[in-house]
């Protein structure tokens, strides 16, 4: 999986993050200004639902591909 970055609102440097770690409550620090970002509690449910849905789409698509094998 490719690495994900988000721009630091403080200094514009790229902060490397992992969405699953964000969901589990981890925070990611900016290597330039040391500001830490984490997912706010009120948004955890929304992000979690979307990730689940996206993963199920990927899994179903792969299942469908294996069914298409002759």
């Amino acid at each position: 999986m490719s690495e994900q970055y988000i721009a630091c609102p403080n200094c514009k440097n790229n902060i490397l993050f992992d969405v699953n770690a964000l969901l589990s409550g981890a925070s990611f620090a900016c290597s330039k200004c040391n500001a830490k970002i984490k997912l706010a509690n009120e948004s955890k449910e929304t992000v979690s639902k979307s990730i689940e849905e996206f993963n199920s789409i990927k899994t179903n698509a792969l299942k469908q591909q294996s069914h298409d094998k002759i």
Binding site: S2, I6, A7, P9, N10, I37, L39, Q64, D68, I70
Partner: protein, 213 residues
């Protein structure tokens, strides 16, 4: 009675003729390729539907509820809240001369689009192994006013191949067609990465008055 017998014989002959003419190799090879293309397109469609439904809120733009008018929609990205904490140094006061470190926390919103690890999954390799004996070949020819002008290609037909064990040749009752598929990530479409880039690079901290909150 005689008529029935001749009918049966002619049916058997036609079946035998069909068997000996073989199966079209073009069709056999095309089937797995078409299945792979369909799988790719259905995966791309599902990802697009997910993107439009889960990452954007849709609003209708048309004011009139006239059925004949084509409805226009405006898509706004769904936002999620992230919180940022940073340390700031507060200068010492007259009472406490030593400067101290304070931690401040700020909430900011980003489109959910920037958090989901999108990747374009697709079939990258497709290997087709076909084990058939070529039994007939036909030359398709283009004709112009009854005169043959050029050869248009060859149509091959195949049948169950023979298996040789030592000096003896055994005929098999089946033939094999194996298809190997590998799925992998391919680069995201340029349009999508441009939108993602625009959102990611435009996360700015702006001050909002407490009154407006």
């Amino acid at each position: 009675m005689l008529i029935l017998l001749t009918k049966n014989i002619s049916m058997k002959r036609s079946k035998r003729r069909k068997y000996h003419s073989g199966i079209s190799i073009d069709q056999l090879l095309a089937a797995p390729l078409v299945a792979a293309a369909n799988a790719n397109s259905s995966m791309a469609k599902k990802q697009t539907v997910f993107l439009m439904e889960s990452c954007f809120d849709r609003y209708s733009n048309s004011e009139d509820e006239d059925e004949e008018e084509i409805e226009e929609f405006i898509y706004h990205p769904k936002m999620v809240t992230l919180s940022m904490t940073k340390n700031i140094i507060v200068a010492g006061t007259e009472k406490y001369k030593k400067p101290k470190m304070n931690q401040i926390s700020t909430n900011f919103q980003v489109p959910i689009l920037t958090l989901i690890p999108f990747n374009s999954l697709s079939l990258t390799d497709l290997t087709v192994n076909l084990d058939l004996e070529i039994v007939s070949q036909k030359f398709r020819k283009k004709s112009d006013n009854g005169k043959v002008i050029a050869s248009d290609g060859v149509e091959l037909s195949g049948a169950v191949s023979y298996k040789t064990l030592g000096k003896k040749q055994y005929s098999r009752k089946y033939s094999t067609l194996s298809v190997e598929m590998n799925a992998g990530s391919i680069p995201l479409p340029v349009g999508f990465t441009t939108i993602l880039d625009l959102y990611t690079k435009n996360i700015n901290s702006i001050s909002i008055d407490k009154k407006t909150l």
